[in-house]
């Protein structure tokens, strides 16, 4: 850890920012400053207002009150024109959004060049740009194939393009919104070493994260938002996980841990399952899930776990092999048949596959069982019953929303995940497929998810936990298997694997090599 650059000049100052959305105050009177070469971590629960604050800084939103100040040419702080991304870019602010802002149909180079040349010019000087980027990549250690189409890049590579976009414009401040939410442990590590390097060259960095370990190890200073207000701002030295978690949530967060318990009989079996060629395909996968266990599947995304999840969700059918639940064949089952067979599925991308945004919370809670008699009579919906059950779920799962009639899209990520949990787990499923269930969730929401999965296990359900988060896997799983290039390893007892080898095996080393 570098020393805190206490006396370096300010590169950014947020002064008393307030932003309201209707009745909701997303940011209340938040002030924040950043010095040259400093890495500031911004912590907060889902919906605490972190992204909103950064969007104001970058000009996507206009604050209702307060100002953003950056050093002008003479070095003194000057107010940044509100609501203008262009002004922010000019002022040397670079932003890597939570959801990437890349045009998929363009190459990496084109995305970086976008907007850097006059639109009226008839020439685009790519050779020069390429030169500058080559040297930037060398200095920062961020390497990507500049000619590759974005749609062909992995998540990690896309993120590097995003950072290069900012660096190419000579950013003095770099903001990263949950940069590690979608990265593998290896990718995260290399990202942070890059950030350290960039900071030591004088870049001011703000990053948002829910992962307390990386926040503690990678930042100089930590600011915590709660309910839109800043509740703490202190040097990283002297902080600890428990204290930070309490600051974020406002109370102590109980950590759920797996109790030791004998697993039951084989429940759900995939035998020799393969899909076709291509990205994310799987070959000859054998998997045997026991009742009452959590089987963790570790792997870098894009190695077949997406396809595996699709198969189990009933969204794809294998080319060969069989899927059997308790002796009943489910190889070609549809999503509906999977649900009816008692398989709960928690999708990886909860916004895209989990909820129908404009429909209400109640409707989203009922969607999987809408054809069940409890929800309709002769095809006509039973509104009363649906609303009643929704209200129960809202209380028992602590879904924070403006009632069962609120559109689901207005909910924060953690609460959206709670909707998914409530509707899938309430049906007492025999098998639970949880794909990246805590990605992007804050400590509180993550703890909730974990508790629910452990409850299912305790009930005797089998849980398949697909995750890139090794801590999560180690903590919850009874057994862990590794998926790489579509091949699934033999699961091992969690007690007999260690974090380091697991990471290496995810990266493709054989068990022997890794050990």
């Amino acid at each position: 850890m570098n020393a805190n650059p206490n006396d370096a000049p300010l590169v950014l100052k947020l002064d008393k920012i307030t932003k309201r959305f209707g009745a909701l105050t997303a940011n209340g009177d938040v002030s924040l400053d950043l010095r040259q070469g400093e890495i500031l971590a911004l912590l907060g629960e889902n919906g605490a207002g972190k992204t909103t604050l950064m969007n104001i800084l970058f000009g996507h939103y206009v604050a209702d009150e307060g100002t953003v100040e950056v050093p002008g040419t003479d070095g003194s702080l000057q107010q940044l024109e509100p609501g203008s991304p262009n002004a922010a870019l000019e002022a040397g602010i670079g932003m890597v959004h939570q959801h990437f802002t890349l045009a998929e149909n363009l190459s990496a180079l084109e995305n970086i060049l976008l907007g850097t040349e006059a639109l009226t010019s008839f020439k685009s000087s790519r050779a020069k740009a390429r030169q500058k980027l080559e040297s930037l990549m060398e200095r920062s250690g961020l390497s990507v194939d500049l000619n590759a189409r974005i749609s062909d890049l992995s998540v990690g590579e896309k993120q590097r393009v995003e950072i290069l976009k900012a660096l190419y414009r000579d950013a003095r401040v770099l903001v990263l919104d949950e940069p590690t939410a979608v990265l593998t442990p290896q990718e995260s590590e290399s990202l942070f070493s890059t950030l350290q390097k960039l900071a030591s060259e004088g870049l001011g960095i703000i990053f948002i994260s829910h992962k307390l370990d990386e926040v503690l190890s990678a930042s100089h200073r930590i600011a915590v938002l709660r309910g839109g207000r800043k509740v703490s701002d202190q040097p990283t030295e002297g902080c600890n996980k428990r204290q930070l978690a309490e600051l974020m949530v406002g109370k102590t967060v109980p950590e759920s841990n797996r109790d030791s318990k004998e697993a039951g009989a084989p429940l759900f079996v995939l035998q020799n399952v393969s899909t076709g060629q291509g990205r994310d395909a799987i070959t000859n996968i054998d998997l045997e899930l026991l009742s009452g266990e959590i089987l963790g599947i570790a792997g870098v995304s894009g190695n077949g776990q997406g396809t595996l999840a699709k198969l189990i969700s009933g969204l794809a059918t294998p080319q060969s092999g069989s899927i059997v639940l308790n002796g009943a064949p489910l190889t070609t089952a549809s999503a509906r048949q999977m649900i009816d067979a008692g398989i709960a599925r928690i999708p990886e991308d909860r916004h895209k596959d989990g909820i129908v945004g404009p429909m209400t919370v109640a409707e989203n809670l009922a969607i999987e069982t809408i054809r069940k008699p409890e929800n309709h009579r002769f095809g006509f919906l039973k509104f009363g019953a649906i609303a009643e059950r929704a209200r129960e779920a809202i209380t028992s799962y602590d879904i924070r929303c403006q009632g069962d009639k609120a559109p689901a899209r207005l909910l924060s990520g953690g609460n959206i995940q709670k909707i998914v949990l409530a509707r899938t787990l309430d049906a007492s499923p025999v098998v639970v497929l949880a794909a990246q269930p805590s990605r992007g969730l804050d400590v509180g929401a993550t703890a909730d998810v974990h508790r629910r999965l452990l409850e299912a296990r305790a009930r005797g359900a089998g849980v398949i936990l697909i995750s890139e988060d090794l801590d999560e896997l180690m903590r919850l799983s009874d057994r862990i298997a590794v998926i790489h290039r579509g091949v699934l390893s033999e699961p091992e007892k969690t007690e007999s694997v260690d974090r380091g080898t697991l990471g290496l095996r995810m990266a493709g080393q054989s068990k022997e090599q890794a050990a």
């Binding site: 991304p85 870019l89 959004h97 045009a103 998929e104 084109e110 976008l114 006059a118 685009s124």
Partner: protein, 314 residues
């Protein structure tokens, strides 16, 4: 059979094919420019009509042929601007706004024409563009007689295809247009204006469409008639998909369509007695659908097409 080869081998046939496809070339490039920026422009049919009427009327009032071309382009830009305002900052459904613009442009053109010329029993004529005969070039084998017996507007259409391809793929502006049709937030996060780019593209695209209409009244013919656009605009919408939003393919698609039309006109006189004429008229549409089925999987859709962009909306 030999008749069919005779047709396909004749210079006149290819001449006709290029001539028939000219309005479609303008239209499909115009539609492509709009859609590349993420805006479907179903106003095309009406914009064709407006271009045909305005261009012709300007010439008739003495603006000169190129003056007419300019007026047509401005008329297209005007209706394009309406569509752009409705669909870009206001984010209205692009289908409806487009159909609204078609209704509006058509009605306004007809009303203006009729109010200006209330009592004509035969449509007034203008001196239309003539085929250009470039000495030397016209004598080139094959290409000469096909290319250099066209009117200047056909040459203009071909030039526009080349310019569009160059701008789209070789300039910063084209880069921005392609990006805004794929992911507007990519453009905004790089400090460019999503609205500016989209509005600009729709306005420019619409003026190209209007030139397609102007070709009908100032080059293919020398007078304005009610209903003379006759579905040509809609064809361009189909051709755009067929061309996977690529200018080169758009040119080929328009030419194929023109060739097919020229061919069916010739074939109809041969075997029109056996097969109902409508079969021939249907074929281009059926073939377009067949082509769509073939290219659908591979089509490189502008991902943001039809999706309005609101800054900071969740």
């Amino acid at each position: 059979m030999s008749d069919i080869f005779d047709i396909l081998l004749s210079i006149n046939f290819w001449n006709a094919a290029l001539r028939i496809s000219t309005p479609l070339i303008f239209g499909v490039i115009g539609a492509l420019v709009c859609e590349r920026a993420g805006v479907l422009n179903l106003g095309i049919e009406g914009i064709f009509t407006a271009g045909a009427m305005a261009g012709w009327m300007a010439v008739w009032l003495g603006a000169g042929l190129w003056g007419g071309v300019l007026v047509a382009a401005l008329a297209g830009a005007f209706f394009g601007l309406i569509h752009a305002i409705l669909t870009v900052p206001l984010g209205l459904s692009q289908h409806v706004s487009g159909i609204g613009v078609t209704l509006f442009a058509t009605a306004l053109s007809y009303f203006t024409y009729r109010t200006a010329l209330p009592d004509v029993s035969s449509p007034p004529r203008i001196e239309a563009f003539k085929a250009i005969d470039v000495p030397g070039l016209s004598d080139l084998p094959i290409v000469g007689p096909i290319l250099f017996q066209q009117t200047p507007m056909t040459i203009l259409a071909l030039v526009i295809v080349a310019v569009t391809a160059f701008v789209l793929y070789r300039t910063p502006l084209g880069l921005a247009i392609r990006a805004v049709g794929d992911n507007p937030s990519a453009v905004e996060s790089q400090g460019l204006s999503v609205y500016g780019l989209r509005i600009g593209a729709v306005v420019v695209g619409s003026s190209l469409m209007a030139l397609g209409g102007a070709f009908l009244t100032m080059s293919a013919f020398d007078a304005f008639f009610f209903g003379m656009v006759n579905g040509r605009g809609w064809i361009c919408i189909a051709l755009t998909v067929f061309a996977s939003w690529k200018p080169g393919k758009a040119l080929i698609g328009a030419l194929l369509f023109g060739a097919f039309d020229a061919f069916q006109v010739r074939l109809q006189t041969e075997i029109g007695t056996i097969i109902p004429g409508q079969i021939f008229l249907m074929l281009p549409y059926i073939l377009s659908i067949a082509a769509l089925v073939l290219v659908a999987r591979k089509a490189d859709y502008p991902r943001a097409l039809l999706v309005p962009y609101f800054r900071g909306q969740r």
